[in-house]
């Protein structure tokens, strides 16, 4: 998953970064730019379906050395937001369920206990206090 970004510096205060749009979604890219907007003006241009160009212009005088580490930081941040999206996609359903359980009335959304009861004597009885627990022996 190689991010080939190139630094073409039209002048000393800005930097262009190439983003692979199949790895970093538009939303992830926007979030990255959101955080960088404190120090930089971010302009995004979608070159095509595969590549987005981001031009970062420093709000105050930043050296070329600073810009190099900024590129790394931007890439890392973009990848992290892409990762977060992936995780969110896998967990949003169970998160909704979790929060629904957390804020619902006690007992309303609770799961039944899982697993077998595990007592041979009780399970052999046809009528027992534990008939609701009548799970087959494992």
């Amino acid at each position: 998953m190689d991010q080939s970004g190139s630094i073409t510096t039209p002048d000393a205060h800005c930097m262009a970064v190439e983003i692979n749009r199949s790895i970093v979604s538009d939303e992830a890219l926007l979030k990255t730019c959101y955080w960088f907007s404190r120090e930089f003006v971010c302009e995004i241009r979608n070159r095509n379906d595969q590549i987005a160009d981001v031009l970062l212009t420093s709000r105050n005088a930043a050296s070329v050395a600073d810009l190099a580490s900024t590129k790394d930081a931007f890439m890392t941040s973009a990848m992290d937001f892409a990762l977060r999206e992936k995780i969110e996609a896998r967990t949003s359903g169970i998160r909704d369920l979790l929060l629904a359980k957390a804020f619902s009335e006690s007992g309303v959304l609770e799961d039944e206990p899982q697993g077998v009861f595990g007592d041979a004597v009780e399970e052999a009885k046809s009528e027992s206090m534990f008939k609701i627990l009548g799970n087959p022996r494992s």
Binding site: E110, P113, Q114, F117, G118, V121, S138
Partner: protein
């Protein structure tokens, strides 16, 4: 001290529970009593009717019509006031309750739905609930002076179903000030209805002692030899707490629980924050333990790092923690204030080298069966520093 002995039984239709008397009583005082003759005691010639039964170390002549057990193997552990059960089928005499002791147990069943590798009371799949409940109800009735504490144990007490509720209700009625502690694997409490019914008993003084052996489900299930036990136990803790039932966490320390001990106490702190106490307990060399000793044994002296870390973790977070079943010479001195005299009188002894130990009065001793297996590092402590007195419980 001995709990059971056997002899030859006559005239029994069913088991008999009664209070031992060494003194021959007038007729009107005999109804709950079993008359006990120690070795070489003369047996009175007169009418012995009115007693529940007779117990004699020596042969009883004269063929009394009362149920009796004679020709006992041992009897010097039997004292006036002891509550015993005489079992006619095998001639067994079991001591159920000794008023002069500190630790009292109500044993309610041998059944259990777990099968812990180190179980000190290996379970039997025989339905003894009816018989034991009847016996225990009678025992409760016969206890003259309510003790401050009583432990309900087994097997797994919740397997009694409604009978457990009957027992607890009876205890509430006849000795409401007695602090009950019930040892259970907690699994049945995972069912909300059960937890609610238990709480509805509204016993004013009861807490549950529930073991947890790892923060990782698979490890806990392996130790207790029951799949899904971890999930049920943790859910059981929560349902109990939600219903206002007081809970304590128990951890037996051995080779399978020591490696994740710090992570376990962290799990307890974050998930079982409501636990009123955590007991870190030494291994008992009895029951299943000898069979599984290779998987279980670690010299307590060798896990002092982990134990100290776990105790500090909990203490710093203001959780109550105690160390049970450890000798002071084996524990780091920093941990002495957490050590309790936890071994029941009848199970406890000191080794010969202990006689010279200056910490003896404060030390809880060893289990009787520890003569077969104990730490290599038991030794007499020559002298205590001046401030040790208040540090040692």
């Amino acid at each position: 001290m001995r709990l059971t002995t056997t002899g030859v039984a006559r005239n029994f239709e069913q088991s008999i529970v009664g209070v031992l008397t060494t003194e021959h009583l007038p007729r009107e005082k005999r109804t709950e009593r079993i008359l006990f003759f120690a070795a070489h005691e003369a047996i009175p010639a007169e009418d012995l009717s009115g007693y529940r039964g007779l117990l004699s170390h020596d042969e009883l002549h004269g063929a009394p019509s009362l149920p009796y057990i004679h020709r006992l193997r041992e009897s010097d552990h039997l004292k006036d006031g002891d509550i015993v059960v005489l079992e006619g089928n095998a001639g067994t005499v079991r001591s159920l309750y000794r008023p002069y002791e500190q630790h009292h147990h109500l044993f309610v069943t041998e059944r259990c739905n777990s099968n812990c590798l180190m179980c000190s009371q290996p379970p039997k799949d025989r339905d003894d609930v009816e018989a034991l409940t009847e016996r225990n109800l009678e025992l409760i009735r016969l206890i003259a002076a309510p003790p401050p504490y009583l432990t309900i144990t087994g097997g797994e007490p919740t397997l009694l179903g409604d009978h457990l509720f009957t027992l607890i209700a009876q205890l509430k009625a006849s000795m409401p000030d007695t602090e009950l502690h019930m040892l259970t694997n907690g699994r049945t409490f995972a069912w909300p209805d059960y937890a609610r019914r238990f709480a509805a008993l509204e016993h004013p003084n009861i807490s549950l002692g529930i073991p947890l052996y790892s923060d990782f489900a698979g490890d806990h299930d392996f130790v207790v030899q029951a799949k899904g036990a971890f999930d049920q136990t943790v859910a059981g803790f929560h349902q109990a707490a939600r219903n206002g039932i007081r809970v304590e966490v128990r951890v037996v320390l051995h080779k399978l629980t020591i490696p994740r001990l710090t992570k376990l106490v962290e799990y307890i702190y974050r998930n079982l924050t409501f636990a009123e106490h955590i007991a870190l307990m030494g291994l008992e060399y009895t029951g299943y333990t000898p069979r599984n000793i290779d998987a279980l044994w670690i010299d307590p002296y060798d896990y002092q790092d982990e134990l100290e870390e776990a105790v500090e973790y909990l203490a710093v977070r203001n959780m109550n923690v105690s160390i049970y079943n450890h000798q002071l010479c084996v524990l780091r001195p920093a941990l002495w204030s957490y050590a309790r005299k936890s071994i029941s009188d009848w199970k406890m002894l000191y080794l010969p080298e202990c006689e010279r130990c200056s910490a003896l009065p404060a030390c809880g001793g060893l289990f009787q069966w520890a003569v077969k297996k104990h730490s290599e590092h038991i030794h007499a402590i020559a002298s205590l520093p001046p401030d040790a007195a208040q540090k040692c419980s």
